[in-house]
Symmetry: C2
Subunit: 290 residues, 2 copies
């Protein structure tokens, strides 16, 4: 990576028209947050990561809508999505032209006691995902939570994309210790959920399934795009609770996300899965907006 | 609160003697962290909050030891506890003399890709806890996790004091919606665990119990101090798994923490609990080091 990352601060994220400059480019390498920002002291905030391919953001609208839903679950002020969209466009515009940008949109509860959220857009060139797009080994790891957690305990924020990701990162380290590249979380009642930063897509014949949002997973923006392609090709698509054994015995499985896009699962723990490089390539092209 | 908070940055937290100035006072109100600090982007870090009463830190050693254990669970660099202790003393020294200080010790994984943790000590006058020390209403809320989580899924970091506290904060908001002041988390297998920022102490006759650390709770520094007092007075003390019903039917229960110190539970959901203001006052005096 040689191109410099770009930072756009968005002090006007909560709208209200009180900011003459609701967003502005800032020095990326400089300190921008205080040590009493609840984003850092409590992981108390929400985020999205959006892929930009050849200058075109993919699924920006759905990402911002999901950010707003996450904010609502955390009882944060409602983000002004128009302002965020303008600030996003500025960050992309200010960045050098590169094939793949990874752009993070973050909103925290802000400095403790201030009542004013902190928000920013951070654009940087994506890392090279070519190896992962060719295939990943995945370890099935318990998330500790039942698939009924959203209904039973909404305060646990399952399904919100919060900054409290320490456990997700620790799970990835555990997977690497096991010789895998990534994680498929499993509920305590035995269902495959999602990856720490990705959504599950599983094929059985011409039926493609993902985990129901009601099981406490994030609503995948990429899987919605993939479903649109697959449905147009005549496949059936939908949400379904699946066990890891069903995933392992499927006709193919992928972890989808916004910047890595499509990572076919070659192995779930010790079990090898069938590969379809042509379909994977078609999904990849579709998700990057070609 | 009128006295100004004090910030001491600790760039030399990981030791190694490479820092001419391993710690230094910094401008508290100024930005000190970048937007790529993993502490904010992933809640990827650890912390402790230490009470300082009439200038004397309480349980600083156990707090720093627990910080080191949390760091180990997150595979962070080992903090240099001598340097942290010196930096802590500086922060307390620089702060105006007040009866009660709340001092946070934080270490994050630092800027993404840097491999260098960020760390700081932040001292500020405590809020007035007198109302909570007279009694709190507590709502029992599921934590979603079984009491076996530490053994079954260590990557979930139960028992580590991480910066990923969004769920803890959301649980407190839920408790307030229910007309309560605080939360007692309950495991999915039906055991009382801890509060979002406190440890449970329960009395049955002359036996005092807290939740076993093996159930995925933090090892309480205050409860260890309380046990020392109670054991010296002839009571029996120990760890025991208890149901919320056992807590509700006890001879008294408290949530202990480092700055609020002792909060007697007046009600667990609708159930009223017996009060012993004399014992609560004795615990309070002991925990603040009198």
């Amino acid at each position: 990576m040689s191109a410099q990352p770009v930072l756009v601060l968005v002090p006007g994220v909560a709208g209200g028209g009180t900011h003459a400059m609701p967003y502005a480019v800032a020095e990326e390498a400089a300190a921008q947050l205080t040590v009493i920002d609840l984003g850092v002291t409590r992981g108390d905030g929400v985020f999205e990561t959006v892929g930009v391919f050849d200058g075109a953001p993919q699924n920006l609208g759905p990402h911002l809508q999901r950010l707003a839903r996450s904010a609502e679950m955390l009882e944060l002020p409602a983000p002004d999505l128009d302002i965020l969209e303008e600030a996003f466009a500025l960050a992309v515009h200010e960045h050098a032209d590169v094939p793949e940008l990874s752009v993070r949109v973050v909103m925290t509860r802000g400095n403790e006691g201030s009542g004013r959220p902190s928000a920013w857009i951070h654009a940087r060139e994506s890392v090279d995902w070519s190896r992962e797009r060719a295939g990943i080994r995945v370890a099935a790891l318990s998330r500790g939570l039942p698939s009924t957690v959203v209904a039973d305990a909404p305060w646990l924020l399952a399904g919100a994309k919060t900054l409290s990701y320490a456990g997700n990162m620790a799970a990835v380290r555990e997977a690497k210790r096991r010789g895998a590249d990534d994680v498929l979380f499993v509920s305590t009642d035995g269902y495959a959920l999602e990856g720490p930063t990705s959504t599950l897509l599983v094929r059985h014949g011409e039926a493609f399934s993902t985990t129901p949002v009601s099981a406490g997973v994030l609503q995948g923006t990429s899987v919605a795009s993939a479903f649109a392609l697959l449905a147009a090709e005549g496949a059936s698509t939908g949400e379904r609770l699946m066990t890891p054994a069903e995933v392992a015995a499927s006709d193919g499985a992928w972890l989808l996300s916004s910047t890595r896009l499509v990572a076919p699962i070659t192995h779930l723990d010790a079990q090898e899965l069938p590969q379809d490089p042509e379909l994977t390539a078609r999904l990849l092209d579709h998700l990057r907006g070609r």
